[in-house]
């Protein structure tokens, strides 16, 4: 049986105010769509059945990349991921991470906002409805058990966005617009380590812009993947640092993605690294500090043990990149 979309109303507001109005009037029945590359497959699998889909594609101010008078890079949430990947205005690490997302076709359709707001993923939830019914609905699916960790009481679905770790590492800020007005928040504060309640954002709040402050340091993103052509991250490590002439770390932000329900700041490793040079021994200790509390679950096709092993390897490789 071929999976088909359920019936829904499709709206294409041409202003932000109109979009906010549709969302707040819908009583929770409306969802935001960027490119829909995450949303529509989920609707086909009946993980969500909104009555209304609100596309942001016709709101001109949400699209585009520019450098403002203070040197900040401002990216509209509807900017296609492919445009981010091709942009010379964004820090190179952002373009590189964007180029690693999914496939060329998906990158052409997908948006920056959709990527940062990507729902959490898990082997048990991202399945057709019939399959979920047969195996029993999990926590995220309205059931009462997490099939990944049945004895716990939380959902372990994974944050799989490639761009969030990079935006957090670069100390980005997000602008959100909702019925109660507009607010700005550090990117890091948007994410919660909870597979169900993964955002500090109400459903009728629209992410409109990403702001990256000027950055003169070194940055990298390392992504573990099974397939070269198309794959979600199994582990993603973003690092951004300022090093002095002697290679001593002045400041660093280190973020590990895809091992929990939110991108994780490796603060202990960051603190350890400040004031040190990136020698092999220092990197090894930082990798240990960044990984020892990471507990990937068995909810991707590679299993948890492998991702646990790979976390320090990828932190190491990211820190080696900074040294180079």
């Amino acid at each position: 049986m071929t999976l088909r979309l359920p019936l829904f109303e499709y709206r294409t507001p041409t202003s932000l105010a109109e979009a906010v109005a549709i969302l707040s009037d819908s009583d929770g029945g409306a969802v935001i769509a960027g490119g829909g590359t995450d949303l529509f497959p989920k609707m086909k699998r009946r993980q969500t059945t909104p009555t209304t889909v609100v596309s942001l594609s016709a709101i001109p101010e949400l699209s585009g990349i520019e450098i403002d008078s203070e040197g900040n890079c401002r990216l509209g949430a509807s900017t296609p991921v492919a445009a981010v990947a091709a942009s010379e205005l964004v820090p190179a690490v952002v373009a590189a991470a964007a180029a690693e997302i999914a496939s060329p076709q998906i990158r052409n359709t997908a948006t920056l906002g959709g990527n940062l707001c990507l729902d959490t993923r898990c082997n048990y939830i991202d399945m057709p409805e019939l399959w979920r019914e047969a195996s029993g609905h999990c926590l995220k699916d309205g059931g009462d058990t997490c099939w990944v960790a049945p004895r716990g009481d939380r959902c372990w679905a994974i944050s799989s966005t490639d761009l969030a770790p990079v935006v957090i590492a670069l100390n980005g800020t997000l602008r959100l617009v909702g019925p109660r007005g507009e607010r700005e928040t550090p990117a890091e504060a948007l994410y919660r380590n909870d597979g169900i309640d993964y955002h500090d954002r109400s459903d009728d709040e629209i992410l409109t812009q990403v702001m990256l402050p000027p950055f003169g340091g070194r940055a990298t993103y390392r992504k573990l993947r099974r397939r070269g052509s198309i794959d979600f991250p199994l582990v993603g490590v973003a690092a951004a640092a300022h090093l002095d002439d002697r290679g001593t770390v002045g400041s660093i932000r280190l973020v590990v993605g895809a091992v929990a329900s939110a991108p994780l700041r490796a603060t202990a490793a960051e603190e350890f690294l400040v004031g040190r040079q990136l020698t092999d021994e220092v990197i090894e200790e930082a990798a240990r500090l960044a990984s020892h509390h990471v507990r990937p679950q068995d909810n991707t096709d590679t299993g948890s043990r492998y991702r646990k092993w790979m976390t320090p390897v990828f932190v190491t490789r990211a820190l080696q990149d900074l040294r180079a």
């Binding site: 397939r227 070269g228 299993g303």
Partner: protein, 748 residues
């Protein structure tokens, strides 16, 4: 001269522009839609089935069940599978129909006005099952505590066996200075063709039940449909539209019979609308057979000089719930497991085993990859044990002209394995040290995961093999062609009628090239009429690397007949020819003596890999794939087969991991079953094509399409061993398996 011309395929334009009509593009707007209902029960007895509610779903036109099948059984080589599981049958089937033995056994076909109504109808069917213990795998099957087919004459799940007893084993082991052994677990593989199963059926203007489906052998489809519908074959017509890949996966029935049943039932009700159906990717992966998984234990002995003295092997292939072509696949594996070498003493026992798991069946190589993996890995282990160059070891043992094969009869003339081994070794520089850096290639694998130079170990592996061309073991082998010459004084137009299936490999292109050459006209003058049982004779299947070889011989014969008729003044001059190759035989049940095949193709491959020992990722940097193709009818198509076979092998050995638990496939989708993408394929594939004529081949051609699959996995495994010092007796080599293996060999 059209032979040897790498001409552009006539179907290329339509295929790349989307004009080509595949089975799912055929249905007119008024067509009815059918949904096959799977039992979803790996092993259970049906207690009751109620279709009343389903029939009442708006839009549902009719529901077909076992009660509607005149002869409720089918199968390519044995009738061991019911068309529908159900309680009411005509009693004319030999296999009990009330037990579901496979999760994808069919219980009904719902025909409706729309796909949505058909789905809703399918969901409304109510079935009560009495669960039976599931025979989950080979180990469970071999206990015979639960029988999958209690009605089978063998009285055992291990229902079909073959033996080889050659020479004197005690003597063989006595002479051996070195013995290597291993137990190998071979994985399933899914065909993952581009286009899932689909088709359309109707009753044509001459009253024939007509089915347009993708397949590999139109006349066999026709015969199986006719058998189940209890019709004479000529009342059934099978037409192949464009086919989106097959690889063996379309050798057995999927939608053919059920669509035919529906078309006939509709016709009897006076409804002349065609009926169409298609499977989703999930249904396709669950619903058709796989490359057999298997367990093979082997021992190999040799003298210090590297001469093989003895081979012993025990083969078990998981046939799954129904035979499909398992008996034939087993036959090939049985031969392949001894290797393409002179073996004086051999003791081989091979068994096909019924389980309640996904059926094993035809898939490019047809048992060759499993047997070949073991034979070649054993040879590579032997080379290591002897401290001998793996190429030299093969040189000393390779089958050659006049060799006696493992079945104690001479090899068919034209054995070119020694030449193939030399050419491969030379092209790959096997006598030179391996370069520390990977060579440049058009494809940069893992562009986004650059291996860390310090963590990368490079290695190189080698493997060689043979594979039969054409049907084996006494199975009737033939191929028909018809050529019509039009014109007055000179030939102005040529028509070719041929049933051979174009499954993407380019069969129709080479048919046209061969017909043009055989008649002596430019290829543009030949018009092909293909793959319609109403207009062409039986060609046999697109399988066993046989189609070019068999078609070519039939076309040569038809052209000769047509020329004769032309000289006699017939206009059009019609030549019909049925080519029959030299006969083959079954093997002696005790000793395995016999003539299993009439010709073989030969292959050798050298593979260079980089292994990232921190992540377990393997990158294949270079493949030298060497084939004796006898004569390349179309060089571009030959290279296409080599590259495609290598990529399919890449998935088999590195990433394709079908998870089957208790009779259920747990990852029936391409997000979890990882076939290689463009970023995962080898950095470069060097095709080395030899043209050493096959004495019986048309223009000297040999079959070659399966061969790249057969040596690839063992060559990669040997290269990984060369890089890391670790032998992997089980694959796919997923990064986590590689790391676990490295860790086990050298614990931290």
């Amino acid at each position: 001269m059209s032979i040897g011309d790498p001409m552009i395929r006539p179907d290329a334009r339509a295929k790349v522009t989307g004009e080509a009509r595949y089975p799912d593009d055929l249905a007119p707007a008024d067509a009815l839609h059918a949904q096959v209902v799977f039992s979803n029960q790996p092993h259970a007895r049906m207690v009751s089935m109620d279709t009343t509610a389903a029939a009442a779903v708006p839009g549902v036109v009719m529901i077909l069940t076992s009660a509607d099948v005149p002869v409720n059984e089918y199968g390519l080589t044995m009738f061991d599978q019911p068309v529908f599981i159900g309680l009411e049958t005509t009693g004319r089937s030999r296999v009990p129909a009330d037990v579901s033995r496979w999760e994808a056994d069919h219980i009904a076909l719902v025909v409706a006005e729309s796909p949505e109504a058909a789905t809703a109808g399918a969901e409304a069917i109510e079935v009560e099952w009495e669960p039976l213990p599931v025979v989950a795998d080979i180990e469970a099957a071999l206990t015979d505590e639960v029988l999958v087919h209690p009605e089978h004459e063998s009285g055992s799940n291990s229902y079909y066996g073959l033996r080889i007893r050659k020479g004197d084993m005690a003597h063989g082991w006595e002479q051996a200075d070195v013995v290597v052994e291993g137990t190998y677990h071979l994985p399933h593989q899914e065909h993952a063709y581009l286009q899932p199963e689909a088709g359309m059926a109707y009753v044509d203007e001459q009253g024939r039940v007509t089915v347009e489906v993708p397949g590999q052998w139109a006349h066999e489809d026709q015969e199986q449909i006719a058998h189940a519908l209890d019709l004479p074959p000529e009342r059934v017509r099978v037409i192949y539209p464009e086919i989106g890949g097959a690889f063996g996966g379309r050798e057995d029935m999927s939608l053919q019979i059920v669509l035919a049943l529906a078309a006939r039932a509709l016709h009897e009700r006076g409804d002349s609308r065609p009926v169409t159906s298609r499977w989703s990717r999930e249904e396709s992966i669950v619903g058709h057979h796989k490359r057999h998984r298997g367990i093979i234990t082997a021992r190999l002995g040799a003298t210090r000089e590297g001469k093989i003295t003895a081979v012993e092997a025990r083969v078990h292939l998981d046939a799954g719930a129904y035979n499909y072509t398992s008996n034939k696949v087993l036959g090939n594996c049985h031969l392949a497991v001894a290797g393409a070498y002179e073996v004086p003493n051999a003791h081989i026992d091979s068994h096909a085993v019924y389980t309640n798991s996904t059926p094993g069946g035809a898939f490019r190589g047809f048992g060759g990859p499993q047997g070949g993996f073991v034979a070649e890995t054993q040879m590579n282990k032997l080379a290591e044990a002897l401290g001998m160059d793996p190429v030299e070891l093969r040189r000393r043992n390779a089958l050659r002209e006049g060799s006696i094969g493992i079945t104690q009869t001479p090899m068919p003339p034209g054995v070119t394995l020694p030449e193939v081994i030399e050419a491969c070794s030379e092209a790959a520089g096997m006598d030179q040290p391996l370069a520390p850096e990977a060579p440049d290639g058009p494809f940069t694998p893992f562009p986004t995961l650059p291996p860390e130079p310090i963590a990368v170990k490079r290695g190189r592996g080698f493997a060689a093999a043979f594979k039969n061309v054409g049907f084996s073991y006494g199975f009737p082998e033939r191929c028909e062609a018809e050529i019509r010459l039009h014109g007055d004084d000179r030939i102005e137009r040529v028509e070719l009628f041929h049933a051979g299936a174009e499954v993407g490999q380019g069969a129709h292109t080479v048919d046209l090239q061969m017909a043009a050459d055989a008649v002596g006209v430019p290829v543009e003058m030949v018009e092909g009429h293909f793959s319609d049982t109403a207009t062409s004779g039986d060609s046999g299947s697109a399988s066993a690397s046989r189609l070019t070889w068999m078609s070519g011989n039939s076309i040569l014969g038809a052209a000769e007949e047509a020329h004769k008729a032309w000289l006699e003044g017939d206009r059009p001059a019609v030549g019909h020819f049925r080519f029959v190759p030299p006969p083959t035989t079954t093997l002696d049940p005790e000793t395995g003596e016999g003539v299993p095949n009439f010709t073989y193709g030969y292959v050798a491959q050298a593979v260079e890999v980089s292994v990232d020992i921190e992540t377990g990722h393997i990158t294949v940097d270079r493949v030298v794939s060497t084939h004796d193709v006898g004569r390349a009818i179309n060089r571009a198509l030959v290279e296409g087969q080599i590259q495609g076979g290598v990529v399919q092998g890449q998935g088999y050995v590195l990433s394709e991991n079908l998870v089957v638990e208790n009779g259920h496939i747990l990852n029936p989708r391409l997000s979890g079953y990882l076939i290689p993408g463009i970023g995962d394929i080898p950095g470069r594939v060097d095709s080395v094509v030899l043209e050493l004529a096959d004495p019986l081949g048309p223009w000297g051609a040999r079959g070659m399409a399966e061969m790249p699959m057969i040596t690839y996995a063992p060559a990669v495994i040997a290269a990984v061993h060369d890089a890391t010092g670790v032998w992997f007796d089980e694959f796919p080599l997923t990064p986590s398996r590689v790391l676990a293996g490295l860790e086990e060999a050298a614990p931290h």
